[in-house]
Amino acid sequence: MNEDLDKQLRQALRPVDPGEDFTARVLAQISAKPRSLRTHWRRAAWIPAALAASVLLVVAGVYEWQQRQKEAGLAARAQVVEALRVTSQKLDLAYRLINTSSRPPSDRDSGA
């Protein structure tokens, strides 16, 4: 009876394919992203000359952004080092706790 039910469940629950249309719809959604950005760029090519000055402002802004990124990167580096330091410290604590409890009493008393 158990084997019958197991077999029946496996047969009843064989995967059902949603069809080739499904694949096409997924891929269409994914490929829609870069297409919209490319369209945006083509439109940008027709921006009037008056907006060219804004591009210069953006360049200046990008420099500022890069400086902030550098600060963030250095901060992240410092955090990584600190995190590894704390991790090592606690692993060391675990080792010390094991070590002091496994040493014979005479060693511990000597303060080694």
Partner: protein, 183 residues
Amino acid sequence: MREAVGKLVGILLVLSLASLPVLAAAPPLGQLALPSLESLEPQAKVSVSISLDASLLAVAAQFLDSGQPEDRAVKDVIAGLQGVYVRSFTFDHAFVYPANAIDSLRKQLHTACWQSIMSVRKGKEDSTVDIFICQLQQKARGLAIIAVEPRELTIVNIVGAIDLDKLHRLEGHFGIPRLPEAK
């Protein structure tokens, strides 16, 4: 002027990002939901809160100089990790934090891929260290350390397969203590 430029860059970035679907990724295996423990901060002499996901680790790696042996060693340790999370509190007095502060965390470590690989309790010092590993198909996916000392509470969660041998090579640098040689 600088503020205006910054705002313009911000607006342009938001406009370009708005055309991309924002999909929240499921947390990777080996990542724990750490308790916020914000209530402990006012009582703590020192609080450390570090949350570095894969993208921040990648940023940090860019600022580690491969030409410097120490930086190269750190880069080596974090290569392939998906996250490093630390919460650490140091107090002036003993056991000012509630015993159940990390109950929710301990519950997570009794589910799914997590298994305890070391649990040390030293009654005399009132210190305990529990180390857990998350393993899937014979591959380490995460490490968790809970260290409870009278004046210090520390939680470490590393997502990904950290190589403890490589961590060992960092000792003596960056203030990292020298670990005893493995037996």
